[in-house]
Symmetry: C2
Subunit: 118 residues, 2 copies
Amino acid sequence: MNIQIDYQSRIPIYEQIVLEVEKLVALGILVSNEQIPAIRELAYNLGINPNTVKKAYDTLEKHGVIISKSTKGTYITDNIDIVKNRLINNIIDDIKSKIVELENLGLKKEEIKKKIDV
Amino acid sequence: MNIQIDYQSRIPIYEQIVLEVEKLVALGILVSNEQIPAIRELAYNLGINPNTVKKAYDTLEKHGVIISKSTKGTYITDNIDIVKNRLINNIIDDIKSKIVELENLGLKKEEIKKKIDV
DNA sequence: GTAATTGTACTATAACAGATAGTACAAAGG
DNA sequence: CCTTTGTACTATCTGTTATAGTACAATTAC
């Protein structure tokens, strides 16, 4: 599993793992029912502590992205579409709120459209 | 100076002050050469430590938003337009990168346009 | 069988950024 | 003088993040 961590980032490592896995799922790189690396394995590969990976996996399970099957490993949920849609909607909402910010600063929709070139 | 701080936010207080002041400047609520509250005064009003406000003011001065005049107080720069334009460009860049994210997730420009309703 | 691997669950500690507390100084202005 | 201003320290506290280490039960592989 190819995950990129920025150790200088303000975003905690465990949360970067969450975001990266969700992105890989949304991109279709990780598919339904696929097994993802064991906690200790991913920790070793990233050069970080297993507890940190565990924390990320716990969050991902709470988000409904993965399912841990006790001694059998951890797997991607079979409901990828929900994950993808949630991700897309979050981004859309971000964009919308930023457009409102721009409007508050006096920009008209036409100017915004021109600047962001949609 | 009406500043809103979210003490639960992950964004540090001093940085929230920076963002809020820059927003007030961009909105035209704070105008060129206007004096802003003394460090101790704003700290008292917000119920926080003067050192925290000092850190925010230092950052704002580095950003070219305010100028401190030793014992005479602290003032808004006379070059508000630069501050405003920088703020706008930052938001635009944010939006652009999020649009790229959406495209990577398979959305076409037309779909994006429809969803964000620009 | 048994050794290795899996997720899980702890406790303890370290490291870091952010925030607070307190003190002090020089300069300006009334 | 006294107050207010920005500035400059040191020390400490706090909460989050991350590490270290250990242990256990269940499954898998050989």
